[in-house]
């Protein structure tokens, strides 16, 4: 099992959710986050006082998938979140040791 953590542009979140559910992923967790990458921040000017905004808002999507679905899921997210412009985000993949469905106590792939 793998955990996919995708940082995407907030307005692309709906497209990503749709692409994942189309391929059969049954759940994701979404968090509003801030950060910086190559896109960097921007400056804001209030009555002459200049403030550099270093951290830009992004959406973090976390989704756990079975090993055989990994490539398909990563491809779906990449396609859905792509605008071709700097700041589209990143996808991180990590190994997932265990998954438990709390209601039934099922574990592993059963619980996904």
């Amino acid at each position: 099992m793998k955990l996919i953590t995708a940082i995407v542009k907030p307005f692309k979140l709906d497209d990503v959710r749709e692409a994942l559910s189309d391929m059969g992923v049954s759940g994701v967790t979404v968090t509003e986050v801030k950060g910086f990458g190559r896109q960097k921040g921007h400056t804001e000017l209030y009555r002459g006082a200049e403030y550099v905004v270093d951290f830009l808002p992004k959406a973090k999507v976390e989704v756990a998938v079975a090993d055989q679905l990994l490539n398909q899921a990563v491809a779906a997210i990449t396609k859905a979140a792509n605008t071709g412009k700097i700041g589209d985000g990143k996808i991180f993949v990590t190994n997932l040791e265990q998954v438990v469905r709390i209601r039934t106590g099922e574990t592993g792939d059963e619980a996904l």
Binding site: E44, L45, Y46, R47, G48, A49, Y51, V53
Partner: protein, 468 residues
Amino acid sequence: MKHLLNSFMLVALLGFAGFAIADPETAVAAVTPTVNKGDTAWMIMATVLVILMVIPGLALFYGGMVRAKNMLSVLMQVFVIFSMMAILWAIYGYSIAFTEGNAFFGGFSKLFLFGITPDSLAATFSKGVAIPEYIYVAFQLTFAGITPALIIGAFAERVKFSAILVFMLIWFTFAYLPIAHMVWYWAGPDAYTDAKTGEAAAATAGFLFQKGALDFAGGTVVHINAGIAGLIGCLMVGKRIGFQKESLAPHSVTLTMVGASLLWVGWFGFNVGSNLEANGLSALVFVNTLLASAAATLAWSGAEWIIRGKPSMLGGASGAIAGLVAITPACGWSGPMGAICLGIVAGAACFGAVTSLKSLLGYDDSLDAFGVHGIGGIIGALGTAVVASPALGGTGVWDYVANGVGEYSMSTQFISQLWGVAVSIIWSGTVSFIAFKFVDIMIGLRVSEESEREGLDISEHGETAYHI
């Protein structure tokens, strides 16, 4: 002689504050003043509009510009200052500002609003026309309420609530009241029946009124007065922690826009109400107020666009206020095109003051009480001498003895305006300095560093503005 003549002329339209209770003798000698229901209704409306300027207008305008952790402190300061001034006004403020005394302070004959009844009359700027004194008291109360509240913008986000209230008590008593008396107190138009009575009446007027300084709705009394107090305040209180290091960006320019718009709308009560009647001159004041603020909005936004690359909403809102401040003293004497010119100059100059002058001199006027009200007030007060000129489309100044527009000399008027500006700056500056010193020694001006970092909402008021 020239001086005397001048004081006659000026007696004319001179500032709204004019009023004057119809004194029984003159009332009999001249026509018995009549009260018009239209005037009275308008003054009630105008008074409500000025209240709207303060709460919530000014409170939101300022509140949006502070960080979220200090939002309630600003709202609360404005709310309580206004309430406190209302009570002080009824107890002694009205009497000291608007009864006959010497050239600097009025008397005590109307302490606790003594002697005023529903039948008492206050003079307007037309002979034989009066309004009920109670509505005059209330209208003037709102001016006394907004002026101290303007000051807090200069040292927002770092001063103790208790220190602010004590300072305001002292400042109201020794700066606002005497300056209001000096600029606005006069015996009323009915006292000017001929040269002799006119001379006698003029001698009882306030110091700056006698100097011929024109201030229709409070450029000196309200804006320069508050702006200078703010400047002294932010210099004496010191900068906010993190000034020019951390982000002190406004937490909601949206609320600032809402506040600025309420101020703009309320300002029609402030300026037009200052005519004390609902007549043709009131309509001119309305148009001037509208055009000056629109012109200043364009000027500030345009200057910002050219110099900084982008026109900001905060800039647009600030421009509107700068224009309103500048037209305030001039609105009863300027023509519409003069109002536009004054607005353009004020918008551009105040933009320069808050973006360049402030960083050049390095003081932390948090919400630009001085940059907008001080600078805008000075431009308006001096500009009044220019735009009032009949040669430039102004109305000139009414001579109540000749019952016509007097001869107008721009240079003479400019000197009179300089008197108004200089006296306001020096008087308000001195009183403010002493009052801040006194409060600092007695209770301390600033909150602790820890409280400032935590935010005044929690440390001073025990609550949080937003639970999201």
